[in-house]
């Protein structure tokens, strides 16, 4: 597949690759996708005082899946949980100029953000505590 320069850039220089300790109190982890589908994204958020202060990802998937998750980690930083929940996959599609067959990669990235926030909230009994 011929990709946009933006996808190429995130693929070649992915932002925020790595992991946080998933049991740490200030971390929320979202793992979405499945190996059989050809893509799995792990997105982790570090949260302080309701603000996402850092984010990391690891992705098994095609170039656009890697780029979508890389972009997601950039976007969530500095946002409140509520703000991060409003990130839409269509914004990722537009920014990365993803072709129609790759839209599911952006959906996965959106789902990963939500899953990470849900994980954090669940582990804090639904309160948006610290």
């Amino acid at each position: 597949m011929k990709y946009s320069d933006d996808v190429e850039d995130h693929y070649n220089n992915p932002r925020n690759v790595g992991s946080f300790e998933k049991d740490a109190k200030d971390v929320g982890t979202g793992i979405v996708g499945a190996p059989e589908c050809g893509d799995v994204m792990k997105l982790q958020l570090k949260i302080d005082n309701g603000i996402i202060v850092d984010a990391k990802f690891k992705t098994f998937g095609c170039g656009s899946a890697i780029a979508s998750s890389s972009l997601a980690t950039e976007w969530v930083k500095g946002k409140t949980l509520d703000e991060a929940m409003t990130i839409k996959n269509t914004e990722i599609v537009e920014t990365l100029h993803l072709p129609p067959v790759k839209i599911h990669c952006s959906v996965l990235a959106e789902d990963a953000i939500k899953a990470a926030i849900d994980d954090y909230k669940n582990r804090h009994n639904g309160s948006e505590g610290k």
């Binding site: 693929y11 792990k42 095609c62």
Partner: protein, 404 residues
């Protein structure tokens, strides 16, 4: 060494310069229509076509009269299956084939099913091979055709065609073989292999695109085909249409060269493949070979790199032309049906890379590719959540994955 490196020779091949040279006059000085009977332009073209026909016949041990020129292997496969189904409709309505055939056989079979033909799709084993006994068992008194490929286009395995041909002969059933990937790479003998119809094409053996052939047996038995193209009655009435004279000239030359160099080239490609394979597997863990380790054509290596997705690998190997069985690289958005048929697990199909070595690849290129593959897989594994989980001791099979 020049970049990019072409290592996708199952997809197509570079036209051999000797082939190009032989073709050129047939675009200009000898541009005639081979069917023009009344002037030297036509005679020259016809003569060139007949030289080509002889060269094609030679490489498969056939008679030149048994060669029908087509536009390529897809057309040859269509003509073989549809032509037999229509011509032998009174004799029967059952065709036997197998699951890893090329799409031009499988989709033709599917279309025939819509018109009432019954098709048996035999399975393959974990190494990609058909069991000839399964072929025998599938035969009914309504079976009119068995269609089994010689060499698989993805995993390069060589089917036991000779044994299947013998079974077909015993039962008096026509045997079609799609030898597109095999001709010029491995020895083909339509008599020894009991083949009645055989498809092949020029561009897989360093000839031009747009010209293929179907071998149609004339004796023991004399095979008849209903044509798909109606018109001027060219090619014994089986394929009307003005002959692609330069293409046929090139196809012929490509066959001649292939016959000459086959043994030497096969040995060289085998050495290159072993170098590529051991270079990669010696440096990376969890790399799996797809297809039979020995019963495969010399230039083919198909590997799955666990925990890394194929398209992302190709993106990292931009300066090397390769192909992958990953869903993301296919038009259907499904991972390779050939790899799935081996039962290796869909996730490994997503992680596969096909290396297709050919005449123009060098040892230097192979060494470069080894280095790039190792670096790319290591980089992507560092980025892979699956690899991380496995390293932490997680059994991926026991994880409850989401759906999407």
């Amino acid at each position: 060494m020049n970049l990019p490196i072409y290592m996708d020779n199952h997809s197509t091949t570079q036209v051999d310069p000797r082939v190009v040279e032989e073709m050129l006059p047939y675009f200009t000085a000898h541009f005639g229509n081979a069917a023009s009977r009344n002037h030297s332009f036509g005679w020259d073209a016809d003569k060139a076509v007949e030289v080509g026909r002889e060269r094609l016949a030679k490489i498969i041990h056939a008679d030149p009269k048994e060669i029908i020129f087509t536009s390529g292997a897809t057309e040859s496969n269509n003509l073989a299956l549809k032509g037999v189904a229509e011509m032998y409709a009174e004799k029967g309505d059952h065709i036997i084939t197998q699951v890893t055939e090329h799409r031009s056989v499988l989709d033709t079979a599917k279309r025939l099913e819509k018109s009432g033909i019954r098709v048996t799709y035999l399975p393959v084993d974990q190494e990609g091979l058909v069991d000839p006994e399964e072929v025998r068992k599938a035969i009914t008194d309504r079976t009119i055709l068995i269609s089994i490929m010689l060499v698989n286009n993805e995993i390069g395995v060589i089917q036991p065609v000779e044994e299947i041909g013998k079974i077909a002969k015993e039962r008096g059933i026509l045997f079609h073989c799609d030898a597109t990937q095999g001709v010029g790479k491995v020895k083909v003998d339509v008599h020894a292999m009991g083949i009645d119809l055989l498809s092949f094409t020029a561009h897989k053996l360093y000839g031009p695109k747009g010209v293929g052939a179907l071998y149609v047996r004339r004796k023991n038995p004399r095979v008849r085909l209903a044509p798909m193209m109606d018109g001027g009655g060219h090619e014994r009435g089986m394929r009307s249409g003005t002959l692609n004279v330069p293409g046929i000239v090139g196809f012929g030359k490509a066959c001649e060269i292939a016959m000459e160099v086959m043994d030497e080239e096969a040995a060289r490609l085998l050495r290159l493949r072993e170098r590529l394979s051991s270079g990669i597997t010696g440096a990376l863990e969890e790399v799996y070979l797809n297809g039979h380790p020995v019963k495969r054509m010399p230039g083919n290596l198909n590997l799955s790199f666990a925990y890394v997705e194929g398209e992302s690998m190709l993106m990292g190997l931009k300066e090397v032309a390769l192909s992958s069985g990953s869903a993301c690289t296919s038009a259907t958005l499904e991972p390779s049906y050939v790899l799935q048929a081996l039962g290796i697990g869909i996730e490994l199909a997503h992680s596969s890379i096909r290396f297709g070595l050919g005449r123009f690849n060098t040892e230097e290129e192979v060494d470069y590719v080894i280095g790039r593959v190792i670096a790319t897989v290591n980089r992507l594994r560092e980025m892979s959540p699956l690899y991380e989980m496995v390293k932490e001791g997680v059994n991926l099979k026991e994880v409850k994955w989401g759906k999407h």
